[in-house]
């Protein structure tokens, strides 16, 4: 016996706190009271986003979308929706208060701030079945390029779309392609940079895993445009599933004649090959990637010459990252006109981000350029885990900087993030809360760069290691104010004099935290204090003799052990032996163990 109606009550953290449970209970009570409990099922769901209009209630199959619902509305909802089969007009979400235009669930883009262009097929199609991709207009962009456009037309289309490189720096894609077309030489190459290496970033991996054919289609279009017959996808070996699905997709495309000789019966032939990277972060830098692709040690090379002129095996080469290529597939399918309406004037289209860190809803999101950081973190991401206080967000991975609460309303564009001392980067977004120590975070990223520096150029190779040591000094309570000056001095020289962007941006996390959180650095230095308690060496545990009842639990939990005391007498911690594991602090039921 099926229900006629389903009422979905958003019971995400935000809505739950605004009485979602009460609404849920009232709805069930009312359904019973009005004798329709067999006609309707009331269910609690996860967060729908759009929390500022919460609590939200959705009704299926009528697709009614109710906002700011109160428990006392339950009676009316049941009476109207279930008993009489009509909507409660006053609760419906209105796009515009004046016109009273209401919105249905099918218009979800109005309340969900995401807009999935790159990820349009992810979570929708079976990535191992080319037919499903084709059914969703897959390979129609290639079709259009091959049979309706000259290479120059494709470039014009890209120019009109306003697409810029999604790998970080935002170089106009059409220009890159055009430079490669104009570079002298018969042999040219298409290379996809799928060497996603920022900690916490996995947009490209998910994109390939969910929709490998988009990449293949776009690279083929690129090959047609620049006159290349070979393309390489450089992907890190740590992405086995993405590699597997790419292999399957390439095989299927070849079987269908969408790759290989005389594609779709045209005169154009193109082949794709996969090359595995060993996981060096620096190989995400395009010149280092090309070195690695040639079988050499992955070390950045001076630019110029740019890859567009002298790239793979010294031949003109287009090298774009996964997201850029996938955007090309969409642009060629849906047209530059459609695409260029998304985003801001200078930053067109969407951007994918991987939300990680102290965020309630970690995940892969895609938003139009120009979306505010606040919308991403608080609406899409559901805010900070456990309701803690937001401290900052790191964009651009180890190359980026920390953006603080003051800048949350900044619309995301290439320019705005750079102006904030960070960068777009590939799209990792790591959210920090008050329990994170900025010095510790700066040290973490610096340690990453120390390991991942290729070692070629002196400023980066030595600068990162010296800066890391200085940060280590500060987090262990041995820092001086002079060390802060040294950090800034090295950071500046490293930023200016490094050969590639790894070194050129490695100081960003440190410099941006010194700028935004100087006080916290000074606390570490002057007061030997870490307010978040992250820097173990600066934390001191002691037992308040007044609160301690001498139960001995802390002493039993202590792994060293370094807590002594008679039964029912106040206990004492031997600080010289304490390893600061915090077990005693967690164990004490009387708040007698003090951490400061």
């Amino acid at each position: 016996m099926a229900y006629k109606n389903f009422i979905l009550v958003c019971a995400g953290t935000g809505c739950e706190s605004s009485k979602a449970i009460e609404i849920y209970d009232s709805l069930i009570r009312e359904a019973e009271a009005q004798g329709v409990k067999n006609d309707v099922q009331v269910v609690k769901t996860g967060c729908f986003g759009f929390c500022e209009k919460g609590p939200i209630v959705k009704v299926m199959p009528s697709e009614s979308f109710y906002v700011e619902v109160k428990p006392e509305d339950a009676k009316e909802i049941i009476a109207e929706q279930v008993v009489k089969g009509r909507e409660v007009k006053r609760l419906l979400y209105k796009k515009d208060e004046k016109t009273a235009d209401t919105v249905k669930i099918e218009d979800i883009e109005f309340y969900q701030k995401q807009f999935r262009v790159v990820l349009r097929n992810c979570g929708v199609i079976n990535p191992e079945n080319i037919d499903e991709y084709i059914a969703r207009d897959g390979y129609s962009g290639l079709e259009r390029a091959l049979f309706k456009m000259k290479p120059a037309d494709v470039v014009s289309e890209l120019k009109a779309s306003g697409l810029r490189g999604r790998g970080g720096a935002g170089f106009p894609t059409w220009l890159k392609w055009d430079l490669t077309i104009k570079a002298p030489g018969e042999v040219k190459y298409v290379v996809c940079n799928a060497d996603e290496g920022d900690p916490g970033a996995y947009m490209n991996r998910s994109t390939i895993e969910g929709d490998p054919h988009s990449l293949i289609e776009a690279m083929t279009i690129c090959g047609y445009t620049i006159g290349a017959s070979t393309g390489y996808i450089y992907i890190r070996a740590e992405y086995p599933l993405a590699i597997e699905r790419l292999k399957i997709a390439i095989k299927q495309a070849k079987e269908y004649g969408l790759l290989g000789p005389k594609i779709l019966g045209s005169d154009f032939s193109f082949d794709l090959d996969i090359r595995l990277g060993a996981g060096a972060f620096v190989c995400g830098e395009e010149t280092a990637l090309l070195q690695s692709l040639e079988g050499k040690r992955g070390m950045p090379m001076p630019k110029p010459p740019f890859p567009a002129v002298q790239g793979l095996w010294k031949k003109p080469t287009v090298i774009n990252n996964v997201e850029t290529f996938v955007n090309v597939a969409v642009i060629m399918t849906k047209g530059a006109d459609w695409y260029s309406k998304i985003g801001t004037e200078k930053s067109k289209g969407t951007k994918t981000f991987a939300l990680t860190g102290k965020i309630a809803n970690s995940g892969l999101v895609e938003v139009p350029m120009g979306t505010k950081l606040r919308d991403i973190i608080f609406d899409i991401g559901g805010g900070i885990k456990g309701g803690r206080k937001f401290k900052g967000v790191q964009t651009g991975g180890p190359s980026g900087g920390i953006i603080t609460a003051e800048s949350l309303d900044e619309p995301i564009t290439y320019e705005s993030l750079t102006a904030l001392g960070s960068m777009m980067g590939s799209g990792g977004m790591i959210i920090m809360d008050e329990d994170d120590c900025v010095v510790d975070i700066a040290k973490f990223y610096m340690a990453f760069c120390v390991d991942e520096s290729c070692g070629k150029c002196a400023p980066c190779r030595i600068g990162t290691s010296q800066m890391h040591d200085l940060l280590e000094k500060i987090t262990t309570g041995n820092g001086t104010e002079d060390d802060l000056l040294k950090l800034e001095k090295i950071g500046k020289a490293m930023t200016k004099a490094s050969l590639c962007m790894l070194g050129g941006s490695a100081a960003n996390p440190t410099l941006s935290t010194i700028k935004h959180f100087r006080e916290e650095y000074l606390e570490h230095i002057r007061d030997h204090k870490c307010r978040s308690g992250k820097c173990k060496d600066l934390v001191v545990y002691s037992i308040d003799p007044v609160k301690c009842i001498g139960c001995g639990l802390c002493a039993r939990k202590c792994p060293v052990p370094c807590i002594a005391g008679e039964k029912k007498q106040a206990h004492v911690i031997d600080r010289s032996r304490c390893v600061k594991c915090g077990e005693c602090f967690k164990a004490c039921k009387f708040g007698a163990v003090v951490k400061n």
């Binding site: 199959p61 992810c122 969910g210």
Partner: protein, 131 residues
Amino acid sequence: MAKMNLEQLRKLREDKKQDLTRREVEGKEIQVIVGMGTCGIAAGAKRTFDAIVDAVNAAGLGDQAIIRQTGCMGLCYVEPTVEVVAPGMPTVIYGKMTEGIVKDLVAKHLVGKKLLDDHIFDRPAADIMKK
């Protein structure tokens, strides 16, 4: 499938498009789609997938249901994610669908025609390909 020319590609696309708009696939009314990106698999999506196959068969729905995979739906915080399309029921995405809950899912949603509490999550965005 042999290599196609332009006309063949267009015809294939039209055929497959009609498949997509039909509720049933390969003559089966029920579709259970499991998010099988690395994030999903890491959270146990492979086990979930297998458990769904077992539970659907155990419920005698084997010949009515197709169980397939897709990429990451973007809801990494509630992996594994499973989308269920069934007649007479709203299409929903369930999160945190670990293998232990699968039996419940099949019993309630597919057999009992009831939605599961506390597991429904929203599709993150509208489908640009539908317009």
